[in-house]
């Protein structure tokens, strides 16, 4: 049984059946990609996993526990961290502070009134954050305001913020959307590096097949709200059903 088990999930918006009978299992320490053409229901599925939407039918089990009806911060505390399409960081804070905040969240929970402790006396947290930054080669930028970073660095910082929590599952929502080819390649390299250097389970929602072929251990193809096939990347490439789903986008599927 996988760390994430999606069973028979369905979601309807008015007359539109966005998801129906979605079954998905993400095994521990694998990279699982969920791809599909526009409107396949990728974002809806993701929002059901993180607590932003509640599916009409079915269940989502994470680590044996249901995530349905829980708030985003509660789901994060269960061990799911999320990377956004456009990096979501604390722009007014320094890079180091950005990475310290998730450390505090892991140690102290959703709320703690630590009003009379000193940030600079938190040696453990500082060390943890600095280690993470040096792992991702961002330590020299630790004292810059995060809002002044380049787009690529913001993505890198967001990854650092998620990884420092040592999540049981890292969710990535189209991590390369809207990026130039060079930036896309950098991001893929970063993800490969992360996969190679630490035990991690990732679920990547992606439109662009290129991004995930070299990265994913398994790929689920979503079309019109329901999984079409699930297989290893080599078998996905040649699958005629997948070509059909991406019809008109065959170049993407190459």
């Amino acid at each position: 049984m996988g760390i994430l088990e999606v069973k028979n999930v369905g979601k309807r918006f008015g007359g539109l059946q966005a998801l129906s009978e979605v079954n998905l299992s993400v095994a521990e320490n694998t990279v699982h990609a969920i791809i599909g053409p526009n409107g396949a229901g990728k974002s809806t599925l993701l929002n059901c996993l993180v607590g932003k939407l509640i599916p009409d039918t079915g269940s989502v089990l994470f680590d044996g526990k249901s995530v349905l009806g829980r708030k985003p911060h509660e789901i994060n505390q269960m061990g799911i961290s999320r990377v956004f399409q456009t990096p979501e960081i604390f722009g007014d804070l320094t890079v180091l502070e950005n990475v310290m905040i998730p450390c505090f969240a892991r140690r102290d929970g959703a709320f703690r009134m630590h009003a009379f402790e000193r940030v600079k006396a938190e040696a453990g947290i500082l060390e943890q954050a600095e280690k993470m930054l040096s792992d991702l080669r961002m330590l020299e930028k630790a004292h810059l305001h995060a809002g002044t970073l380049s787009r690529g660095d913001k993505r890198r910082l967001e990854m650092a913020m998620c990884l420092v929590q040592e999540p049981k599952l890292l969710l990535l929502d189209e991590p390369t959307a809207g990026m130039a080819r060079a930036d896309t390649n950098n991001t893929i390299d970063l993800l490969k590096e992360i996969k190679a250097t630490r035990p991690i389970t990732m679920a990547i929602i992606e439109h662009d097949m290129h991004v995930v072929f070299s990265l994913a251990d398994r790929i689920t193809v979503l079309a019109q709200g329901t999984p079409l096939v699930e297989d290893v990347p080599e078998n996905i490439k040649g699958n005629p059903k997948v070509r059909e789903a991406y019809l008109g986008e065959t170049q993407d599927a190459e």
């Binding site: 911060h73 007014d92 998730p102």
Partner: protein
């Protein structure tokens, strides 16, 4: 030291020294000189500056850190004043129980209003707090007359029980005091042609305000303070980082409400009466002005803003036409009269006009307030070293989205 970095500790000591020396520093002009009316070293004004500094420093914990702009903080100030007055009437003229109760009432009241108002953010939050404050004002003004004495305001009376105090047979109203030390007792020292007034009430307010400044400094440097800045920066990221922004914001709201309650309690302790006008929206607006004028989100800003506005209110409003005629008396009448007329619009009762113009200038040219002004002047002297826009990013907007 005291849980502060060395730099902050020195900063605190400087603030403490300035507070202690204020009766001297604010009296730079000799008695009977033409400039004597610009002296601010008299007890009433100094007490006000210290009290409003507490109010603004507390407000800045909410507004400066989380970006939530409350337009109703005067309600907590007023509630604190009423609470203190009831302690004076029922229990004792000692200001200690009065201050303790005013802080508690400020905290409770802000918990109630904050819990409801913080369901919204941005302009909706501001409007909710404004509505609550106006409701409180009207309650105090009419509905709750038995508790607040309506438009007359709550005052001391000879018939008050004051169960802890000895029987008062003097036939006059008792003074507020701290263990026998009357708030209105002043030692006057004549020196160098100046009269320095060392007032007990001022030193009580001043020392409490330094203490509250210290508390705020600790909050600013704590992980909690960092979370409050995170609230202002990106609540979405906070949620997906496993943090719940609501309790953090509510805690900041209640802390600032307690600061406001304390300020209200001290106001009543210095001058034992409390009226509903203390809760009016203009009073809420005043603390917003102070914080922005001084520099929201900075430590010293609200203190500067409070001092600046209270100084203007008291000094500029005293410059009437007679004084102006005195200043311009050297000029011929044909020039003197229009000049006096023009200047009178901006002084005396027209001091709000000067304040308004200054506020606009600060907001347009110094969005970071007086503190930014100070930093820019400081920057002129060491420009070559740190001319690096990358490390001095533009300030974030004040209000949370």
């Amino acid at each position: 030291m005291l849980g502060l970095e060395r730099k902050d500790f020195v900063f605190l000591i400087v603030v403490l020294a300035l507070t202690l020396a204020a009766p001297i520093l604010l009296n730079p002009f000799p008695e009977n000189s033409a400039l004597a009316q610009f002296n601010a070293g008299y007890p009433d004004l100094m007490q006000r500056i210290a009290i409003f500094a507490i109010f603004a420093v507390g407000f800045n914990i909410l507004f400066g850190l989380t970006g939530y702009l409350s337009f109703g903080h005067a309600a907590f100030l007023g509630a604190g004043s009423y609470a203190a007055m009831w302690m004076f009437k029922l229990l004792s003229m000692n200001i200690l129980p009065a201050i303790v109760l005013s802080v508690l009432i400020g905290g409770l009241f802000s918990l109630l209003i904050g819990y409801v108002s913080l369901r919204r953010s941005g302009i909706y939050f501001s409007i909710l707090t404004l509505a609550f404050a106006q409701m409180s004002f009207n309650l105090a003004y009419s509905v709750l007359t038995p508790l607040t004495n309506g438009e007359t305001g709550l005052q001391l009376a000879l018939t008050d029980p004051r169960v802890l105090d000895a029987a008062n047979n003097s036939g006059s109203l008792p003074d507020t005091a701290l263990f026998g030390l009357a708030m209105n007792s002043t030692t006057k020292v004549e020196m160098l042609g100046r009269v320095f007034q060392f007032n007990v009430g001022y030193y009580v307010c001043g020392l409490i305000s330094v203490l509250m400044f210290y508390v705020a400094l600790r909050i600013f440097r704590s992980p909690f303070g960092m979370m409050l800045r995170a609230v202002k920066s990106n609540q979405n990221r906070m949620n997906y980082t496993g943090l719940s922004p609501r309790p953090y914001t509510l805690a900041a709201f209640v802390i600032s409400g307690m600061y406001a309650g304390l300020a209200g309690g001290l106001m009543a302790s210095m001058d034992p009466l409390a009226g509903a006008e203390r809760m009016q929206w203009t009073a809420s607006g005043e603390v917003v002005l102070m914080t922005i004028l001084g520099g929201a989100g900075t430590m010293l800003g609200p203190v500067l803003g409070a001092g600046f506005i209270k100084y203007f209110e008291n000094i500029f409003s005293k410059i009437n036409e007679t004084v102006l005629h005195g200043w311009f008396s050297a000029l011929p009448h044909a020039i003197q009269d229009p000049l006096v007329w023009l200047a009178a619009r901006f002084t005396g009762e027209g001091w709000h006009l000067t304040l308004g113009v200054l506020f606009m200038l600060v907001v347009i040219f110094l969005p970071g307030g007086l503190v930014e002004g100070g930093q820019r002047i400081g920057g002129l002297f060491r420009r070559r070293k740190t001319d690096d826009p990358e490390h001095h990013p533009k300030r974030a907007p004040h209000v949370a989205e």
